[in-house]
Symmetry: C2
C-alpha cells in the first residue's frame, strides 16, 4: 500500500476516534452499558444476542440492539422477535461498522430509557478491530467449530477485546475442539480477557455472561 493511502486511512480512523469519543460521552450521560460484538461470519453473534436480549428483558432490564450487515435485514427481524427495539444498519458492502453509521442510527433514540445496548458488528475478524464505536465492552466471539488457533492468527482483534465468548459449546465434542488450548491461545494474545464458554442452544454459560454485564453496568454507573 502507498504511503498516501495509509495517511488517508489514518485520517479516516482519527475522525472515527473523535466521533467515538463523543458517542461514548453520550452513552455515559445516559448511564447505559454498550457492548460491541465482533467475530467471524457465522460464529453465532445473532444467536447469542437472541438469548441475551430475551433473558435480560425477562430479568427486567431495558435492552436494545443495533445490527450491522453488508446486506439483508434478516438479523434485525430475528432479534426483534425478543420484543426489544432493534435497528438494522446495512453497510452496502463495507466490511465493518464505522461510528457515524451507529450515531446516525441512534439519533432519535432516548438512550436514557435503556440499560444495555448491543451493537452487532459485521462478521469479520480483522477490519472492525480499528473502528471504535464508543462501546464500553468489546466482546469477541469464537465458535468451537473455527479451530483453536484463531486467536493466534487474528491477534489484533482478540487483543483489542475485553471479553472473549467461546460459542457453540454443544458442538465441542463433535468437532473435537480442545477448549483448554483455545483458552490458552486467547490468553496468549490478550492476558486480561474475561473468557466465557457458552451455547446459545443449551443456554450454557449465559448466566455467567449476563452476571458480568450487569456488574459492568453497575461499575460504570458508580464511576469505577
Amino acid at each position: 500500500m502507498t504511503t498516501r493511502y495509509l495517511e488517508i486511512r489514518q485520517g479516516v480512523l482519527s475522525k472515527n476516534d473523535r466521533l467515538a469519543a463523543e458517542l461514548r460521552e453520550r452513552f455515559a450521560r445516559a448511564g447505559l452499558l454498550v457492548a460491541n460484538l465482533v467475530s467471524s461470519p457465522g460464529a453465532g453473534k445473532t444467536a447469542l444476542l437472541e438469548r441475551l436480549l430475551a433473558e435480560l428483558r425477562a430479568a427486567g432490564w431495558r435492552v436494545a440492539a443495533v445490527v450491522g450487515d453488508l446486506q439483508t435485514d434478516n438479523d434485525a427481524r430475528r432479534l426483534a422477535r425478543s420484543g426489544a427495539p432493534v435497528r438494522q444498519i446495512t453497510t452496502d458492502g463495507m466490511c465493518h461498522l464505522e461510528v457515524d453509521l451507529v450515531t446516525d442510527k441512534l439519533a432519535d433514540w432516548d438512550l436514557g430509557a435503556l440499560d444495555f445496548l448491543f451493537i452487532e458488528n459485521v462478521g469479520n475478524l480483522v477490519c472492525p478491530t480499528w473502528y471504535d464505536l464508543g462501546e464500553d465492552v468489546r466482546m469477541v466471539l469464537l465458535s468451537v467449530t473455527e479451530g483453536e488457533d484463531k486467536p493466534l492468527k487474528y491477534p489484533v482483534m482478540f487483543n483489542s477485546s475485553d471479553v472473549a465468548v467461546i460459542t457453540k459449546l454443544d458442538l465441542a465434542a463433535a468437532c473435537e475442539c480442545d477448549l483448554a488450548a483455545m483458552r490458552e491461545n486467547i490468553r496468549s494474545v490478550q492476558p486480561n480477557a474475561r473468557i466465557f464458554e457458552t451455547s446459545a442452544r443449551t443456554g450454557a454459560g449465559l448466566s455467567e455472561l449476563i452476571g458480568f454485564l450487569v456488574q459492568q453496568r453497575q461499575a460504570k454507573r458508580n464511576g469505577q
Copy 2:
C-alpha cells in the same frame, strides 16, 4: 468515507488488477491451474487443502500452495506435511492478499514444474473479494456450522466466485444445517456457481471436486 479516500482505494485496486493480469498471463504460459480459496476464518480452507494436496499428489499431479495469514506460519507448516512445496505469506495485519504479495512469493518458482497452485487467502468473507490474484478459479468455502444465510449476507464474495464448496458436511446433522436452503441461497446470488458438498474429515465430495479441477486444467490447456 470521503471521496478522496475512495479515489485512492480505486487507485490501489486498478494497480492490483493490472498486476493480476500480468500474473494470469504468467500462469497461462506455464500451463498450470490456479485456485484462490476464500472464506470466513475457520471454514476449513487448510483442512480441505491438506486433503486436496495429498490426493492430487497421490494421483501423480504436481501441486503447490501459497498461504496467507495475518500472523503465524501454522498453516504452511501443516500443509507442508503433504510433501508439496508450500510458502507462507504473513500480511502483518492486512485483511486480504494483494497480488504483489503473491507475485513476490512466486518470483523464484519454476511454475512450469507445476500442474496446480492453490492460494489460501486470509479468512475474510468481504475484503478479498476485490483483489484479483490472477487465479483461474475462485473457490469460496462455507461451512455447515456458519448458517444457511451467509451467501445472502455476504453476496459479493459469493457472486465473484466460480465454485462454492460447502465444508464440514459431517457436522451438518449436529448443527441442523438445511443444505437445500444453503444451496438455494448460493444460487440466488451466483446462479452459475458449481457447488460441492465436502467433508475433509470423511473425504465426502473430494473426488467430485478433484475431478472438476482436473477438468478445468485440461480445458485451460486446450485453450477453452
